[in-house]
């Protein structure tokens, strides 16, 4: 016989989201670097490498001003990678601190623990993205997209963030320690460099170029670039969304399985 126990998935998820946001505020030594890192990268690439890299782009204006517009999509993606690294750490902390064991023995909507992390990180990512975009605008970024493009842009960034968060929620659970959880998502930080994020792929040697053109971050960054700079989207948007759907699905199934395992 199964006794009906009232389930409150929405209320429980809201409680968990609140908990995660509170934790982010309480742990500034983790949260602040997560926002500072992409900002520093942006400044580094624009003011240190930007002159030379911008000249290599061969655009009309050339130089630093041209490069800001080129590099912002990569920085936005790196912002997401940084935030989800925090997600992995935060999930792993939960797992090692035993509080998740407590949640599991309570009569609460099971999914709420994970949705708390996912939605909490999503909010943090959108805030970080806003900060990074603000800094970019201050240092000369000149987007040319229409209002509709901006909505589409927010949608693409949300999709990427959502997918990577589910993936790192799984990684956070799979890691045996908080240290491992902070290292495992490192490739997510590195992959934008091995794509069209910082320099066009046609300047790369064949093998690297093949990889750069076929890895998920390139169509994602190209879509963002097209939307920001009002350039033709081509197939990039659909390829990007397909990658996001795939990563989100794998991450979700993996995360759920890890969370529900009872052996």
């Amino acid at each position: 016989m199964t006794t009906a126990v009232a389930s409150h998935p929405l209320r429980d998820s809201t409680t968990m989201v609140r908990r995660n946001l509170k934790r982010m505020l309480r742990y500034p030594s983790m949260t602040v670097p997560l926002i500072a890192m992409p900002v520093l990268l942006l400044l580094l690439f624009v003011y240190v490498f930007g002159g030379t890299l911008g000249a290599g782009l061969g655009g009309a204006s050339g130089g630093r001003a041209e490069y800001v517009n080129y590099v912002v999509p990569a920085i936005l993606v790196i912002t997401v990678s940084t935030v989800v690294q925090g997600t992995a750490i935060s999930v792993a902390m939960d797992m090692t601190e035993g509080i998740v064991a407590r949640f599991r023995t309570m009569s609460i909507a099971r999914v709420s623990v994970l949705t708390g992390h996912v939605i909490g990180s999503l909010i943090q990512a959108l805030l970080s993205l806003a900060v990074v975009t603000g800094v970019a605008l201050l240092i000369g970024f000149e987007p040319r997209g229409s209002v509709g493009d901006w909505f589409a842009l927010v949608g693409v960034l949300a999709a990427v963030t959502f997918a990577l968060i589910w993936f790192t929620v799984a990684i956070g659970q799979a890691s045996q320690s908080v240290e491992a959880a902070s290292n495992l998502p490192m490739p997510l930080m590195f992959l934008p460099f091995l794509g069209s994020g910082f320099v066009p792929t046609d300047s790369m040697p064949d093998g690297v170029r093949w990889f750069a053109e076929h890895q998920p971050f390139t169509p994602i960054m190209e879509s963002i670039r097209a939307l920001l700079m009002d350039r033709p989207l081509g197939n990039d948007l659909w390829i990007a969304l397909a990658w996001c759907a795939g990563i989100a699905l794998v991450g979700y199934v993996w995360a759920k399985r890890l969370y529900n395992r009872t052996a």
Binding site: V5, T15, K22, R26, E97, G98, I99, T105, M106, S107
Partner: protein, 320 residues
């Protein structure tokens, strides 16, 4: 079975669990009456925590069945979760939140109204002596405070059955006693406690019934008194200065006295009461035998535990 389950808070039959090739629980049966304290005693690795994990729906059993608060843990885990509270060996508190926020979190997850939540949280902070530290992050708490916060969090949901997995491991003596008092108060309120511990004095102090777990099997079960009766009674250990005194003492005390360890000591059966001690010493005094030292050994749960788990070479000594 149904009528029985109505009076039993926990019913376990033939519970098994293996991790890979390692058998952790090899078919255990338990009955825990409502409103009682049941203590599962065992050394590290005996399977205590695994038992708690199965009964609290954290881990699936490998075989057998278990009912908690009238609900099957395998088929109706959510009903079990609604009835239980678990405080584990390692504090399950959110270190980044304050004590008060941790309790509020539990109030929200137990779906209390804001008003009830506030009241319950304030009451628990007061009751567990955490009011002053309520606004400090749990990471700054001492071991005893964390354990109290942990238990307070468990109590927010007003559970009928509480699992305490080694609740005093690592606590200082004062905190331990505080924890014992809290457990007694809970039982007085009608809650059933399933306590695991490796401390025999703790089980002796708190438990109505004790089961001893060894290598995944229950090797004994009963009240503390029943278990103590199962092992041989107490004795006195006499220490002498001269080998001659040992021989004389052995002659006058007859077959009761046995050499104990070194050549200058004797072990004499004795209940440890003043009267029988005086009688024994008088007999030795009559023969002018000089006793160098004397220690009284009363059987306690340590003896039971060690006798049952095969380490009977060790003994706990009470010096008087």
């Amino acid at each position: 079975m149904t009528s029985r389950a109505a009076q039993q808070a926990i019913v376990v039959r033939g519970l098994r669990k293996s991790f890979g090739d390692k058998v952790v629980l090899d078919g255990i049966d338990l009955d825990v009456a409502q409103g009682s304290v049941f203590s599962l005693l065992g050394a590290n690795g005996a399977g205590k925590t695994t038992t708690v994990k199965i009964l609290s729906t954290l881990v699936a059993a490998g075989g057998g069945r278990a009912e908690v608060a009238g609900h099957d843990v395998a088929t109706d885990p959510d009903a079990v979760r609604a009835a239980i509270g678990v405080t584990g060996q390692f504090s399950a508190v959110d270190n980044l939140l304050t004590g008060e926020e941790n309790l509020r979190l539990m109030a929200d997850l137990n779906h209390l109204s804001t008003k009830d939540g506030r009241r319950v949280v304030a009451e628990l902070l007061e009751r567990f002596g955490l009011t002053e530290a309520a606004r400090k992050p749990a990471s700054t708490y001492s071991g005893g405070m964390r354990r109290r916060l942990d238990l307070a969090m468990t109590l927010v949901g007003d559970p009928r059955v509480i699992f305490l997995d080694e609740p005093t491991t690592g606590l200082d003596p004062r905190s331990r006693r505080g924890m014992w008092q809290i457990v007694r108060d809970l039982v007085a309120g009608g809650v059933t406690i399933f306590l695991t511990t490796q401390y025999l004095d703790e089980a002796d102090e708190l438990a109505d019934r004790i089961a001893v777990l060894e290598g995944g099997r229950l090797v004994a079960e009963g009240t503390p008194e029943e278990l103590k009766r199962r092992i041989p009674g107490g004795h006195v250990r006499l220490q002498f200065a001269e080998p001659g005194d040992v021989r004389t003492a052995q002659r006058i005390l007859g077959g009761d006295a046995h050499a104990d360890g070194d050549a200058l000591a004797l072990r004499v059966p004795n209940d440890g009461s003043l009267r029988s001690l005086k009688a024994l010493l008088d007999r030795l005094d009559d023969e002018s035998i000089a006793v160098d030292g004397l220690s009284v050994h009363t059987p306690d749960l340590d003896d039971v535990f060690l006798a049952l788990t095969g380490d009977s070479g060790l003994e706990k000594v009470t010096n008087r």
